[in-house]
């Protein structure tokens, strides 16, 4: 049932078995998993069924660290949450990303990746990708097309992985009808949690105070609560709720909001293939639009261990001839800056480049590699890395207030020297690895003109990860392996904020898998 909390008739029950705060991928998945469970479920969603400026304004926040997208742009606040602008990329974590690695302080998950297998299968259904199989060779073979083939990377320090594409599933649209029909689930729209009320000793959630922008106020009580509002908002709501625990709920060890991670994306250069081999399977343009999946090249686990670097993957994007020229790069730079709402500082230089000639060495190299073919084949190479968990990269409460008079959020996104070393070592490994297999040659061109020596146009994955991380040790994590907040018996957290590491992949499939897992936990009787 969907209920508009702004209506006078919107009256919650006296108490629910489960109250889920947030109706994004995690919240909707859990609600659906609890349909017909015999439990009464309340979902509180800040927005309505469509984008609304006034509600979106609640997500505005400050950025004090590395440049980042505006916080009301990078996340969406209506039914379906950020799935409303999701690109649909799906892939589970890799084993090494779950392991405790000596060179990644604060790394390691308290659960095994294997334990998530049944939940990844369920997540594949929710994300409408049809299969939980990520075998690269089998996926390529299924096309029965010689142009779709896995690269022979064995022994090069590299490996292939595949990403499957969801349509993408807009959870609020695709699952709205099921939520409306669910007799035991009430979804309150335009319902903003203003405070999380805990017992006097702060070890038990009692209720949440809810408000609408139209002025309505009410309380929702439940036996158990799940916070599922995203990587920034999960931390914010815990920090805001300070009327009993002065540092916020679950923050006795000053961990809430820390370890913020994204997926830094860096254009590292171009790749010119040798000979006639097809790279269609690895070309994101073809994969996304035509194949429903795309292969990427990653640094393999042995090389990660030997070089002591985090995970790193590259995406190849086919360029048409001339796209690699200084002029084409300038055009891309100008376009990217305008997309971020900024006028390019060095527009004059870019304009000059755009009028200039195609790079002579690039033409020579790809002609040398590809024989006498007149159509040059070049790929742009974008590297995306796993960020090192860093307690100084964090989400905090801002001094600025929102329409409810509550502190907004500030993001101080920080990267480390290890993160940069992962970039440079991964880039070199790509260049030499592709050479070892004589697949082609790379031109490395990593800009360092941005903040703290990072590229001026550092990209990101639109992922907010790690701010209520999972650990069995309450001094190292906000939630335990069941995603329950340490020290609070009946409060759980869902979403990528519980990830202790980010991997180099994409989080949505794992968010949904963990939501299925948490719902299974919630269905068990309370001891």
């Amino acid at each position: 049932m969907l209920i508009d909390a702004r209506q006078d008739s919107a009256t919650p029950k006296k108490s629910y078995d489960v109250c889920i705060i947030g109706a994004g991928a995690a919240g909707i998945t859990m609600a659906l998993e609890l349909v017909d469970s015999g439990m009464s479920v309340c979902v509180l969603e800040s927005g309505g069924t469509e984008f609304e400026d006034e509600t979106s304004d609640l997500s505005v926040g400050g950025i004090t660290g590395q440049p980042y997208a505006d916080l009301d742009v990078v996340r969406l606040r209506y039914l379906g949450g950020s799935t409303n602008h999701w690109g649909g990329w799906c892939r589970p974590f890799r084993d090494i990303e779950f392991e405790k690695r000596d060179w990644v302080p604060y790394g390691g998950w308290p659960i095994t990746l294997e334990s998530l297998d049944p939940y990844y299968r369920a997540a594949a259904e929710y994300c409408e990708i049809g299969t939980a199989d990520y075998d690269v060779g089998a996926a390529a073979a299924a096309f029965k097309n010689p142009r779709i083939a896995e690269l022979p990377l064995s022994g090069s320090g590299l490996m292939s992985t595949i990403y499957r594409f969801s349509p993408p599933t807009r959870f609020g649209e695709v699952y709205r009808a099921r939520l409306e029909k669910a007799k035991n689930v009430e979804v309150f729209l335009h319902a903003n949690v203003l405070n999380m009320e805990v017992s006097h000793d702060a070890n038990r959630m009692e209720s949440v105070r809810v408000g609408t922008l139209s002025g309505a106020r009410f309380m929702v009580a439940a036996r158990r609560f799940v916070l599922a509002t995203g990587g920034l908002e999960n931390a914010r709501l815990l920090l805001l709720s300070r009327n009993v625990a002065a540092r916020g709920i679950g923050n006795q060890h000053d961990l809430v909001g820390r370890y913020f991670m994204e997926h830094p994306g860096i254009d590292i250069g171009v790749f010119a293939p040798s000979g006639d081999r097809s790279f269609d399977f690895y070309n994101t343009r073809i994969g996304y639009h035509d194949l429903g999946l795309c292969a990427c090249v990653e640094v393999d686990a042995d090389t990660q261990r030997r070089k002591q670097i985090q995970s790193a993957r590259v995406q190849l994007t086919g360029l048409s001839e001339g796209e690699n020229s200084a002029g084409a790069r300038s055009l891309k730079s100008v376009r990217d800056q305008l997309r971020r709402g900024r006028w390019p500082d060095d527009f004059g230089t870019h304009l000059g480049n755009m009028l200039s000639d195609i790079d002579d060495v690039a033409k020579a190299v790809y002609g040398y590699l590809q024989g006498d073919k007149s159509a040059a084949r070049l790929f742009g190479v974008t590297l995306s890395i796993e960020q090192e968990p860093n307690p100084d990269s964090r989400v905090m409460l801002s001094d600025k207030k929102d329409a409810f008079g509550l502190n907004r959020v500030d993001l101080d996104w920080r990267l480390t020297a290890n993160d940069y070393r992962t970039v440079t070592e991964a880039a070199k490994t790509m260049a030499t690895g592709l050479g070892i297999k004589d697949l082609g040659r790379m031109r490395l061109d990593i800009d360092r003109k941005g903040k703290e020596g990072w590229p001026e146009h550092l990209g990101w994955g639109w992922h907010q990860i790690g701010t209520t991380r999972m650990s069995d040790d309450p001094k190292m994590g906000v939630v335990d392996r069941d995603c329950r907040v340490h020290g609070v018996a009946n409060l759980y957290v869902a979403g990528s904020s519980v990830f202790p590491t980010s991997g180099a992949g994409v989080p949505t499939l794992t968010i949904v898998a963990l939501a299925v897992r948490l719902a299974e936990h919630l269905r068990r009787p309370i001891p």
């Binding site: 002579d360 033409k363 002609g367 040398y368 050479g435 040659r441 790379m442």
Partner: protein, 135 residues
């Protein structure tokens, strides 16, 4: 990674030592045989014009390396473990490929305007470019 003069000088030294045990390859590196060597190498590459362009780009950035005899000695020293002197065109192409792979495996690469190339690629292309320029 950048191709530095000291690398060339050290390779020249190694080349001379290596050639002591390869009298036939050594003869091929002699002055009258340099054009023939360059032609054989050029024929073993996918695109002669592009190889020369690549070689010219390298020499433009490192004019101190523009010494055909020294380049020829380097190439013959590098190739000696991979091909017999009378190798056919196909055998030579295969040898160059195996040499490149070995260099990438060892990390013996050079940076040419950001392009990560095997050392022998740059040396061969530079030689091919020089001989064409001289002819």
């Amino acid at each position: 990674m950048p191709l530095l003069r000291r690398h060339f000088l050290s390779l020249v030294g190694l080349s001379i030592t290596a050639l002591a045990s390869h009298p036939v390859w050594g003869a091929l590196a002699g002055k009258p045989a340099i054009p023939a060597l360059a032609r054989r190498l050029q024929d073993a590459l996918p695109n002669a014009a592009s190889a020369r362009a690549l070689g010219n780009a390298c020499l433009a950035r490192h004019p101190e390396e523009a010494d055909a005899a020294a380049l020829a000695r380097q190439v013959t020293a590098l190739l000696a473990p991979y091909a017999r002197p009378a190798a056919s065109g196909r055998e030579l192409a295969d040898a160059l490929s195996r040499l490149r792979v070995s260099e990438f495996q060892r990390g013996d690469v050079v940076d040419l305007d950001g392009w990560v190339l095997a050392r022998s690629e740059v040396t061969v292309c530079a030689l091919v470019a020089m001989v064409k320029a001289d002819s």
